[in-house]
């Protein structure tokens, strides 16, 4: 299946910051106008390179919250960057970068952690098309800023009015830490089947049925599609979060081959 996905060729591209707006108390939504960007599939990432006046460079990877083909010479690409205390790149992107600033980006990168809508007319796979062609439901599981690639996937799913059942389990510290809250509200209401389950780990909204707590195996089992549905599962978050969740998924009977992970380190 992976080999049949077509993703544009990567390369280095000059980019201009079009907008930098607070996403949460610790994160910013960064919209970049990227020259020569070839378009990207939902779930891909890019590398941002900053160059200091003395020539020192620092490069970091960020998931892309947008997807789609190129829109001419310049294409708008959306990131959401969480500030890593003592980080070299993220504090600049979150707190300092402003409209008009120039950066270099390398991408689009990675054809593994991507989701693409079913091509039009492919909703009913041919009888002889084999197991690959079966439309499997999709379960997305995000820890904190690991939700960014899933914004792109859910948006691509809604834009294509794709019939694949989609569920997102999103573990987040507090209601104020939810990324793309307005977008998710629209995605839940869109006609493409999308369900959002939130788990609050430090502070829950008033009247929330469960007290805030780190996700447990039991909570995971309740909120994700069962192994009998044979979902494709994408997990993105800190290394610790992904390790815990992936191990539980295996215990819950999911096949390791059905699970794709993207760890971004950290705690």
């Amino acid at each position: 299946m992976i080999g049949r996905l077509t993703v544009p060729r990567s390369g280095w591209h000059p980019a201009t910051v079009a907008a930098n707006t607070p996403e949460t108390g610790s994160a910013a939504r960064l919209e970049l106008d990227v020259e020569g960007w070839p378009g990207n599939a939902a779930g891909q990432h890019l590398d941002v390179r900053l160059t200091a006046p003395d020539g020192y460079t620092a490069t970091r990877s960020y998931s892309i919250a947008s997807s789609g083909p190129a829109t001419g010479d310049v294409t708008r690409v959306v990131l959401a960057v969480d500030r890593v205390p003592d980080g070299e790149v993220s504090p600049f992107l979150v707190d300092v970068a402003m409209a008009g600033d120039r950066l270099e980006v390398h991408g689009p990168l990675g054809a593994f952690f991507v989701w693409q809508p079913q091509p039009a007319g492919a909703a009913e796979p041919a009888a002889d098309a084999g197991v690959d062609a079966t439309v499997r439901p999709v379960q997305l599981i995000a820890g904190g800023s690991g939700v960014v690639p899933f914004v792109a996937m859910a948006q691509a799913h809604a834009d294509a009015d794709d019939a694949t059942p989609f569920r997102l389990l999103y573990s987040v510290r507090t209601p104020a830490d939810v990324f793309f809250a307005a977008e998710f509200e629209r995605l839940v209401a869109a006609s493409a089947p999308f369900r959002l389950d939130l788990v609050y780990t430090r502070e829950a909204p008033a009247g929330w049925p469960t007290p805030p707590a780190r996700i447990t195996r039991e909570a995971l089992a309740e909120a994700v599609l069962p192994a009998s549905d044979v979902p494709l599962i994408y997990v993105c978050g800190s290394t610790g979060f992904v390790e815990r969740v992936a191990a539980w998924l295996i215990e819950l009977g999911h096949d390791a081959r059905s699970i794709r992970t993207e760890r971004f380190g950290g705690t």
Partner: protein
């Protein structure tokens, strides 16, 4: 030590290869496991990057970079399958 996934190396490897290495399938010459490179375990440090087999922890590959050159080792990979097109 915290590790990342093989897909995190897409950018670093795209500097040297014309295909997306992370979706290529590699065979570990430690245990024979066959897996997408994206599923490998990636350990990074200021000295360089070590890629390990997710099945047996055998070192598959190493990447060391300086300002003007890079050293790529694939000591633990016996074969790579690359999809065309």
């Amino acid at each position: 030590m915290q590790h990342l996934d093989g897909n995190a190396l897409a950018g670093a490897l795209a500097e040297f290869f014309s295909f997306d290495v992370t979706t290529a399938v590699a065979r570990c010459n430690g245990c024979g496991a066959i897996d997408e490179f994206a599923r490998a375990l990636v350990f990074t440090s200021p000295a360089g990057t070590v890629v390990r087999c997710p099945s047996c922890d055998h070192v598959l590959a190493t990447l060391v970079e300086s300002d003007d050159r890079a050293w790529l080792g694939f000591s633990g990979v016996s074969a790579i399958e690359v999809r065309r097109g």
